[in-house]
């Protein structure tokens, strides 16, 4: 992991001052700049821009100029410009998402990225699930997520930048390809992928905007509940039920295992909120298929994250250690397949 230096912060502040001055149409001063935790390749910075007597509380998302394709978290992740376009379209159609303001330009010297308004709330699952200030919110989050994801799926796809279209069959094939690029055979994942392949749902009649990483840990919430959906780099067109299945993967319950909807509620609560907010009727078998798929997906991501370290592309103890989490999903998969039979 790269240790960020004072020098890096100065470069970022200078680039942001020029980008913010251009956007707000007046000289901008950057204050309180600090890097949030997160990966070395995809950075999040928090800062204020002062323009005249106006203070704008902002967030920068960027890939530093040195980031090569090998460092990308995943080959299927969107670039920053596309993520910007998806976020803008989602915000404009009323999705609870951060308001994106402007993109970086080449002359800012900060690589690819964009700036959005800061939203209150925290993303840390363990606090949302256990700390006293969030007691009220805990009773609301499952329903709120159902409503918000229905809004995401209602975004007019004509207003989106070009996005990959990935249906169930493509996704099963992609996980097999990912397994083939690793050097270790994985019988439990192979079993689950064959199970999925034999039961895969028909392609959607009309592919919708799918968030692609809709889970606890990827949204902000405060004492009233969800404030903003984050991490849109996995957005694609496809089967909307994919988002509902992924949210219910056991790894995203962070220990609250009896509450499948992200650790906050039942599947039925989530589905009824989704349907009432305009989502399509949820077929439980289809949702289960995507939950099983999501469980394999997270297991394969654990292995590929470790592989980023093992292959020498990024040196990171943290990534290496994620490899040993894959077995958690094997335990869950064997359980899920038994429940299904």
């Amino acid at each position: 992991m790269t240790i960020h230096t004072a020098n890096e912060a100065e470069i970022v502040a200078a680039g942001l001052a020029s980008a913010a001055s251009r956007h707000f149409g007046g000289p901008a001063t950057i204050e309180g700049l600090r890097r949030e935790s997160g990966g070395a390749s995809r950075q999040t910075w928090c800062f204020d821009a002062l323009v005249g007597d106006q203070r704008h509380e902002l967030i920068l998302r960027r890939d530093p100029p040195t980031t090569g394709a090998a460092e990308r978290a995943s080959a299927t992740a969107l670039d920053r410009a596309t993520e910007f376009g998806v976020l803008r379209a989602a915000f404009r159609s009323g999705v609870r998402a951060p308001e994106v303001l402007f993109e970086l330009a080449a002359q800012d010297g900060l690589g690819e990225g964009f700036v959005m308004r800061r939203v209150g709330g925290i993303a840390i699952a363990r606090k949302l699930l256990r700390d006293p200030p969030y007691a009220d919110a805990r009773g609301k989050i499952a329903r709120q997520l159902g409503e918000i994801v229905a809004r995401i799926h209602a975004v007019d796809t004509a207003g989106l930048p070009p996005l990959p279209h990935r249906e169930a069959a493509d996704q099963v094939a992609a996980l097999r390809t990912a397994l083939d690029s690793l050097d270790q055979p994985q019988p439990v994942f192979e079993l689950a992928l064959s199970w999925l392949d034999r039961r895969r749902p028909a392609p959607t009649a009309r592919p919708l905007l799918v968030h692609g990483d809709f889970r606890t840990g990827n949204y902000l919430a405060d004492e009233h509940g969800v404030t903003a959906i984050l991490d849109w780099e996995g957005a694609h067109l496809g089967d909307p039920i994919e988002d509902l299945g992924w949210l219910c993967v056991k790894s995203w319950r962070f220990g609250s295992i009896d509450k499948p909807a992200g650790g906050f509620g039942s599947r039925e609560e989530l589905w009824s909120a989704y349907e009432n907010a305009g989502g399509i009727a949820v077929d439980p078998a289809r949702a289960h298929w995507w939950e099983v798929f999501g469980t394999v997906r997270w297991g394969v991501i654990c292995l590929t994250q470790a592989w980023r370290h093992l292959s020498g592309s990024v040196k990171s103890m943290e990534l290496a250690s994620i490899g040993r989490r894959a077995v958690e999903t094997e335990v869950d998969l064997l359980q899920l397949l038994k429940e299904a039979s």
């Binding site: 992991m1 192979e190 079993l191 064959s194 040993r324 077995v327 958690e328 094997e330 064997l334």
Partner: protein
């Protein structure tokens, strides 16, 4: 040649205890980001400690089951590669009771090392 004590498990435990009880609090005060990384390291050491105690017998059990299941001898990697191939090809599936017994047992042994609290 046998090494003197501490054993692998004893030494890993001693290192883990020191890092968790003494080094981590100091690091949390000085540099919280490194404190988080240290917790990841301490957790990984605990995995290695369990693996040093439980791993050899678990590997032997897995190997014996695989030989019976596949019907020939080979290294763990070779036998698992063959099992993975059969599963992808659909030559075996979840209706095969011997297969499921093997996968349950193997996964139980793996999680006992990687994260015994997982449920």
């Amino acid at each position: 040649m046998a090494q003197d004590r501490p054993t692998t498990s004893e030494l890993l435990s001693a290192i883990g205890d020191f890092l968790r009880e003494e080094a981590t609090p100091a690091l949390d005060r000085a540099e919280p980001r490194l404190g988080f990384q240290m917790r990841v390291a301490v957790n990984s050491l605990a995995i290695l400690e369990r693996e040093s105690r439980l791993g050899p017998a678990a590997d032997a059990r897995e190997h014996a089951r695989l030989v019976a299941l596949i019907g020939r001898d080979g290294t763990l990697a070779e036998l698992n590669r063959e099992l993975a191939r059969q599963l992808r090809a659909g030559e075996r599936d979840e209706r095969d009771a011997a297969l499921m017994t093997h996968l349950d047992a193997t996964t139980a042994d793996k999680i006992a090392i990687a994260n015994p609290k997982w449920r």
